[in-house]
């Protein structure tokens, strides 16, 4: 088993070397093991954040590269220019910082408002006659019950910024979804792919989960694609922890003919690769069984009724004598 | 076996006994209606049913079953529900007292002797023939009476009262006694106690209590009726048909309300207001209240088991089912009872104190029959309580013979005077 693992990494390295720019990039909320202590998951949705004293909480996201989520590599800062864009739930641009934390590229911004923060990292590079336009996106929900739930209904729908992000993936909201909602396995999640704000059909999308489950599908003509989050693993009973969260990423790529110049280099085509990363949990209802609950309910009910019946029938028996302990 | 040797002596004694009894009744009513008299028209009904207390009522339907009860602790609701009529047979006549004295020890309480005599001669109110005589074990002499007179043809049934009424055991014990009594009633009357007729019985008695409580409130507002009349009314409750009694009391209430408005009082304001308590005044032995009111006092209220104690505590039933009604009835006769056979009996002292406050009493007259140990013993604790609120108290010991009024007059007159100048 061990040997095959090595060969596997070798191949992966080869791939990395020649088509670096082909690898899609995505933003990860997972905190690397050797991160400093001050970075911890915070808030209801466990967003990786660094707390510097009261109130000044800053979200920290790592930029990753690679299609396989479970062993993707951290994006190593090299000469290519990286831009980032963060929009607050109100649509306002949020001041952010892109720097490196022990050789890893991180994006950090503070998220005081309630609602979905849209964060984007864009890498553009021309090679050959194609502009490789890589977009990594994340929708980070910031919510605390203390702020009440009155505003949830109108903050729910997703926001899109076509003028600055031409090619984007958006997770469609569930009907009864609110700020307490977690994507959980076994659910049908659907996405729509927007090209310059218009849903684009026939785009190849690929869903890759931390547990190694990869599946790809093309968007239908209304630009939507949906995946059934298969419970692709069954952990042994002792290790089940229904609070554990695993990352999954949805990639989409398309090439469109367009002529333009970028950083002095002309190109004829643009190759968009977009990604959106989120967290999912094992479904709560996986290990819940109503069947057993009915049994427990029935047993208790019948048991209590019999107990009461027996207790009440003791009235017919003669008066209960007071018993004395004979032990001297 | 008849106590008195030959039968014709029994007939003779019976005839003379009933004549004396009737005369006594007439004399008592005459005393009540003498010059110091409340002139309440609606009292006439009570006067004449009490006057011919032992006359055979004309319209007496023969097959009516009567259960005689000898104390307030007999649950009358159960008797009504079992289709019978309760009649309280506590004796008050000196005539039957003398007859009872023939076969009871000399120091027995006169009421017990009088009841025994009445039972022996069959001189019960309305000349009823009881199918069962229910005898709660409240006073000791009354409890033993059951055995002494069990030779007569009436069947006696003992209702065991627990000596202490505060503990849960005694309450549970009393509930069992009452349930056994209900079963006994069903076998005696042959009619089953059902939910419907028990509910009707409870409501019937409760309505009567409602009327009496209103009467009690009116008496506390203004002195518009003499104490002797009030005691007469409650004595009528012993045997009268309950529905009629309630209606008549209702009329009396209305008449009293008119009097209160018109401020037509029976005594002037500073007449001393007396609370009567102790051994109960049972018709025709009303000589003490009559005497007090002839001397210018007013019996404002009385804490007797022949008056307020019988009619003040009513039943609240949560669920009108037998399983809730019978315990409710049992509780009503045990928990609030202020009868001195229970020990400790602070309830009676609290009741007296609250009556003193409600009726703003000037003096308490505590009467106990000669030979009645219960009220004698209790006079100590009540006396102490009265001292604490320095309420002048007169302790009297008398029995049924009408001619000991010499001593009574001296004591009562002196007492009223000492109350006046307090």
């Amino acid at each position: 088993m061990v040997r095959t693992k090595h060969i596997f990494t070798l191949i992966c390295l080869l791939m990395v070397s020649n088509s670096l720019h082909g690898q899609p990039i995505w933003l990860s909320n997972r905190i690397p093991a050797d991160a400093e202590r001050s970075i911890k998951p915070a808030g209801m949705h466990h967003l990786a954040s660094e707390s510097k004293g009261r109130g000044k909480v800053k979200i920290v996201q790592w930029l990753m590269q690679g299609e396989r989520v479970e062993d993707a590599a951290y994006f190593v800062q090299d000469s290519t220019t990286i831009e980032a864009l963060v929009f607050a739930p109100s649509g306002k641009k949020v001041e952010h910082k892109l720097d490196s934390l022990n050789q890893r590229t991180i994006l950090s911004f503070s998220n005081p408002e309630e609602g979905f923060y849209n964060e984007y990292v864009v890498i553009k590079k021309v090679s050959g006659d194609t502009l490789y336009y890589a977009i990594a996106k994340g929708e980070l929900l910031n919510h605390s019950c203390r702020n009440g739930h009155a505003h949830v209904r109108e903050m729910m729908p997703y926001k899109v910024y076509p003028q600055s992000i031409p090619f984007e993936i958006v997770r469609k909201r569930m009907v009864h979804e609110d700020f307490h909602y977690f994507v959980s396995s076994g659910e049908e999640i659907s996405y729509s792919i927007l090209l310059n704000g218009e849903p684009a059909n026939g785009i190849l999308t690929k869903l890759s989960t931390e547990k190694g489950w990869i599946n790809s599908r093309r968007t239908d003509d209304s630009g939507e694609v949906s995946f059934q989050f298969l419970q692709d693993y069954f952990t042994p009973w002792q290790e089940i922890n229904n609070r554990e969260e695993y990352t999954y990423v949805l990639f989409a790529k398309t090439t469109i003919p367009e002529i333009g110049v970028f950083e002095g280099l002309p190109y004829n085509y643009i190759k968009y690769t977009a990604s959106i990363s989120d967290a999912y949990r094992p479904a709560k209802t996986f290990y819940q069984s109503m069947f057993w609950s009915i049994i427990v309910l029935l047993l208790t009910t019948i048991g209590t009724i019999l107990a009461v019946y027996y207790y009440r029938s003791r009235r017919n028996r003669p008066f209960k004598e007071i018993i004395f302990d004979e032990a001297n | 076996m008849t106590m008195i040797n030959d039968l014709d002596r029994f007939e003779r004694v019976k005839k003379s006994g009933s004549i004396h009894y009737a005369m006594e009744a007439k004399k008592c009513i005459a005393d009540i209606k003498d010059e110091v008299h409340s002139q309440l028209s609606s009292m006439e009904y009570f006067y004449d049913i009490m006057e011919n207390i032992i006359h055979e009522p004309e319209s007496s339907d023969t097959e009516e079953k009567v259960i005689a009860s000898m104390c307030i602790h007999v649950p009358v609701e159960l008797i009504y529900a079992a289709g019978a009529r309760p009649v309280r047979v506590c004796g008050g006549a000196y005539a039957t007292d003398q007859v009872g004295a023939d076969f009871l020890p000399a120091k027995t309480c006169p009421m017990v002797k009088s009841t025994a005599g009445a039972l022996y001669l069959g001189l019960l109110p309305g000349r009823v023939k009881p199918k069962l005589v229910v005898n709660p074990s409240s006073c000791d002499q009354k409890k033993k009476l059951g055995e002494v007179v069990s030779g007569f043809d009436d069947e006696f049934y003992l209702l065991e009262l627990p000596p202490n009424k505060d503990t849960e055991e005694s309450r549970e014990y009393w509930h069992r006694v009452v349930k056994r009594f209900a079963k006994k009633l069903e076998s005696v009357t042959g009619k089953r106690i059902t939910r419907r007729n028990l509910k009707k019985a409870i409501k019937l008695v409760s309505t009567a209590q409602g009327r009496y409580r209103h009467f009690h409130k009116l008496r506390s507002q203004a002195p518009v009726i003499f104490g002797k009349d009030a005691i007469l009314i409650t004595n009528a409750f012993f045997f009268d048909d309950l529905a009629r009694w309630t209606e008549k009391l209702d009329e009396l209430n209305r008449e009293m309300e008119l009097r209160i408005e018109k401020k037509k009082h029976v005594v002037h304001e500073n007449a001393p207001r007396i609370l009567l308590t102790g051994s109960p005044a049972i018709f025709p032995n009303l000589k003490l209240p009559i005497l007090i009111e002839k001397m210018g006092g007013l019996v404002a209220c009385e804490e007797y088991c022949s008056s307020s104690r019988m009619l003040t505590d009513s039943i609240a039933v949560d669920e009108w089912f037998l399983y809730d009604m019978i315990p409710a009835i049992a509780d009503r006769y045990l928990k609030p009872s202020t009868c001195p056979n229970f020990s400790p009996n602070e309830d009676r002292i609290r009741k007296i104190l609250s009556m003193i406050k409600e009726f703003n009493i000037d003096g308490v007259v505590y009467q106990s029959f000669t030979g009645c140990q219960l009220y004698d013993m209790e006079s100590i604790t009540v006396g102490k309580a009265m001292d604490e609120i320095n309420m002048p108290t007169l302790y009297l010991e008398s029995d049924y013979n009408p001619d000991d009024s010499g001593q009574l007059i001296t004591r009562v007159e002196a007492f009223l005077e000492s109350v006046k100048n307090k």
Partner: protein, 332 residues
């Protein structure tokens, strides 16, 4: 004024209470759909597990609020806990324990189950004195656990390992409310045995047992669950300063026992205790059935500040319990 007071004293409060309970039941259980929100510090069981609920029972806020390390508990975060408690007390003080008697939907549910029992004519059970005293303590045990477990989840007591997160909102997991409230709006999602791990398994089974006990218990004993409810224990701490008060005037009491017989909770001290004036004990739910059943005038009074708004009168008593058909004829 006097005639109004007289009318109220003789009114049939139980009927009024039944209607009020129906109204409160609708407002609390289905209020969410109507857009009503009575805040998340409600002193009654407005169970948040049911989507329709118009508020949240304060026990939820207590358990979530206490899920803090010591540092933040005694820091600024703890302040939120105190303000929460303050709101709860302000809410509670207005109606005192009448929240249980009049407003709590599960109390109402148990009263309806009692009516069902009465329909079938089953006998109700009562605890005797000894078991009453013993069982009385259970609600305090629940309250203490409800406070300690969340704390133990985020801090380790005496070096013991922290309690696992599955125990979050411990009482809610075993409370019958969690399973019944969603049922009331037709959502059966809360009825499950959760096999995820041992803790969730035990807690969900306990929850189901309590639910079954809730139904069977309240069928045989009136207000069965209220006797063990930690909310009544928590409320009792502040019941002394309540605006609505139930006072007893011992001098007028003849200890006839009517009040303790009609008391759904089976409290005996209301009848036997003629010394203390404040008649509200920890089990009392202030349904005021005792005031209705008291024949003595001015013995039991429901007071708001100084004035009493509903007191026991003999006329009222006889109107409710005494009058028979016979009386109506003679009234003509």
């Amino acid at each position: 004024m006097k005639r109004i007071k007289q009318y109220i004293d003789q009114a049939n409060l139980s009927r009024f209470r039944t209607y009020f309970q129906i109204l409160a039941f609708v407002v609390i259980v289905y209020g969410g759909y109507l857009g009503i929100n009575i805040g998340d510090k409600t002193p009654a069981f407005a169970c948040p597990y049911s989507p329709g609920s118009s508020g949240t029972c304060y026990l939820v806020a207590v358990q979530h609020g206490l899920h803090l390390e010591w540092s933040s508990l005694f820091g600024f975060r703890g302040l939120a806990l105190l303000t929460g408690l303050g709101t709860f007390v302000l809410f509670f003080v207005v109606f005192n324990k009448a929240w249980c008697g009049f407003v709590c939907p599960f109390g109402t549910l148990q009263d309806w189950i009692t009516k069902l029992r009465k329909f079938f004519g089953f006998r109700f059970s009562r605890y005797d004195e000894a078991s009453f005293k013993k069982l009385k303590i259970i609600k305090y045990v629940f309250l203490v656990l409800l406070i300690l477990i969340p704390l133990a989840m985020s801090n380790s007591f005496f070096g013991l390992p922290k309690v696992s997160d599955d125990m979050s909102a411990p009482f809610c997991q075993i409370c019958p409310g969690r399973t019944i409230a969603p049922l009331l709006v037709g959502d059966t999602s809360e009825i499950f045995v959760d096999f995820t791990n041992k803790t969730t398994m035990v807690m969900s089974v306990l929850g189901l047992i309590f639910t079954a006990l809730f139904f069977v218990g309240s069928f045989f004993k009136k207000r069965f669950f209220c006797f063990f409810c930690p909310m009544s224990a928590l409320q009792y701490m502040f019941s002394k300063v309540g605006v609505l008060r139930l006072t007893k005037n011992g001098d007028n009491c003849t200890r006839c026992g009517n009040c303790s017989r009609v008391c759904d909770m089976g409290i005996a001290s209301i009848a036997d205790d003629i010394v203390s004036t404040n008649a509200v004990v920890d089990d009392c739910m202030m349904c005021f059935k005792c005031v209705e059943a008291c024949p003595e005038p001015d013995c039991l009074d429901v007071k708001v500040f100084k004035g009493n708004i509903f007191s026991s009168t003999s006329e009222g008593f006889f109107k409710r319990y005494g009058e028979s058909e016979l009386a109506d004829q003679s009234k003509k």
